[in-house]
Symmetry: none
Subunit: 94 residues, 4 copies
DNA sequence: GTGGTCTAGACCACA
DNA sequence: GTGGTCTAGACCACA
């Protein structure tokens, strides 16, 4: 169903949280680079085999966490590294 | 971003409505006078920092409201005062 | 290109008008019945091989002409016969 | 004025013919490759320092001569080689 | 050099 | 998963 073999949410997990963490990992590993666009929300929904609403919830979560920035009518982009680290600190060091 | 310092649409506002109201105010104050041409739609898009489509939507609105008249291939002009007042009355006094 | 073999707009025609008339004919023949939903605008765009904007323009036209009613977030439906006939009369018999 | 140093139409030449021939030469030399888009007509007008109308006249000429194909709302593209040669023959060998 | 039409495709509010 | 809004930018008809 999903195009991402690593993406196997446990039945107990929230689907949008699982998607968000999977995308976050793709950013962390550099597969998705700063200032590059994420796939569109429709495409993410399709790639992960989830509903459009869940894909949106996932990108909203990433936005709140500072990992991505959304430009209306243009797309959602991976945030630049400094912005991402500031946010990570605000939530406390790992 | 925009050349008009007063023009700061809130993210919740419709962009074309905000542009239309800003232009309407410029007509009201006499900055744009009867029978004078508005800036072209391309120029309005640039001045307000919006897409051509939104600028066109804004002038269409002003046309419906009787504030301007459009002549194809020529331009869009501020309507003469009587026409503007008729319309204003039809919608009821403020 | 398009899924509707009858749909062959001439290059001189307005695309959205051609799409609107083709859909109107499908309503007239009973292929699309009162209170039934039209295909979504995205689907219409795909079926007729036009952009989403043109498909939207076509349904807007049908709405103005009273042939369909649109419910936001739900879809666009074929208007009930009485409403359609009122409108047709208002424009005069053919 | 113009960005193309080679482009120096003689005062006796038709401007659009001179532009068309300059673009034809850019295709011939491979600077503009098959299936690649030409600059937009607005951009061509700017690059060659001519009016928008002259730029359009030039691309229309190239279209008649089979050197480019225009896709409405998309752009104008260098024709594939076979198509170009057929046309050249129809006009007689060089 | 204007307004008109059109493409392709993004996110948003809502149900 | 719909219609609504919006971006960016193409060619077209006309004056």
């Amino acid at each position: 169903m999903s195009m991402h073999p690593d993406f196997q949410p446990k039945p107990t997990e929230l689907v949008y949280e699982a998607v968000a963490q999977h995308i976050a990992a793709r950013i962390e590993t550099g597969e998705l680079k700063p200032d590059e666009p994420l796939p569109s929300e429709r495409r993410l929904a399709h790639e992960y085999g989830v509903s459009l609403g869940s894909a949106r919830h996932a990108t909203r979560l990433l936005r709140y966490r500072g990992l991505v920035v959304t430009v209306r009518s243009k797309g959602t982009y991976v945030a630049e590294r400094p912005a991402r680290e500031e946010i990570a600190h605000a939530r406390g060091p790992r």
